[in-house]
């Protein structure tokens, strides 16, 4: 079956999607795993699926990555 990228993106719904609230609870672990050079999607596949589909949480993920890289512990 040929993927129709834009239409399929519009209606994609992954059954393992963790949702916003559950994803938020572990977003710090997800980000630090990525910053450590590991693949967070291996351990948190439901969060990875959610971040691909939820633009708001994806922006939070990008913002947290950026903040940790830029400010760190600030100690």
């Amino acid at each position: 079956m040929k993927r129709l990228p834009k239409i399929d993106e519009l209606i994609e719904a992954d059954d393992i999607d963790a949702g916003c609230a559950a994803g938020f609870e572990v977003l710090h672990q997800y980000v630090e795993t990525e910053l450590a050079g590991a693949d967070p999607a291996r351990g948190l596949p439901g969060v990875a699926a959610h971040l691909r589909r939820c633009p708001a949480c994806h922006q939070d993920y990008l913002g947290l990555l950026d903040a940790v890289r830029r400010f760190g512990d600030d100690s």
Binding site: I11, A21, F24, Q29, G43, V47, C54, A56, V68, G72
Partner: protein
Amino acid sequence: MPTETLLSNDPVALIPESGMDAASRSWVDCFKASGNRYSECLARLHALLLRVAKHEATRRSGSLRVHGPEIEDIAQQAADDALMAIRAKVVTFRGESRFTTWAYRFVVFEVSTKIGRHFWRHPPIDMDQKTWDQLPDPLPLQPEHIAEFREVQIAVRRAIDEDLTEHQRRVFVAVALNEVPMDAFAREIGSNRNAVYKTLFDARRRIRASLAAAGHARPTTSVESA
């Protein structure tokens, strides 16, 4: 959306939770303190949250045309509310990450919800308009796939019009089609991000089921890194 999928099936892929780094331990101890030390701890964390909030508000400001004093105001409110949330939640911090990473999560979220308010000052679209013209141009497709594209497009439109509830249709049109920021939309309808996303998720599943019933089943996707 099963929350059990949050549980790691490959623990080695996650940062070990054993032990807490010295800086994080210092923050936690600080929150257990009293008097001046506690006040100084809150002030230091607030200053850090404010820096993160200003940076994050600036990072997000472009598309919403938010500038100068508004960014300062958003950042101040976000830092204030994030500090309140952190004070309430700090007892749940177990050292799964650095304390600051755990804490920045709250201020990033607060910036997102607060900056969403500004979307409605310059909304780019009529939310009641079904912007079907914004659906993808089939030109990138090979000619033999254009007919399929048209058939699926019609089937999707029919599913949205006939199979979604009124609320699902409103959420799908606003968030998926018109790309209204979820926090802005949630605020507009007196809801929250989590509830809006759940509705969007259910709408997408219903559309996919409708397509499958009409002989246009769409492929599922594998999990990829965000």
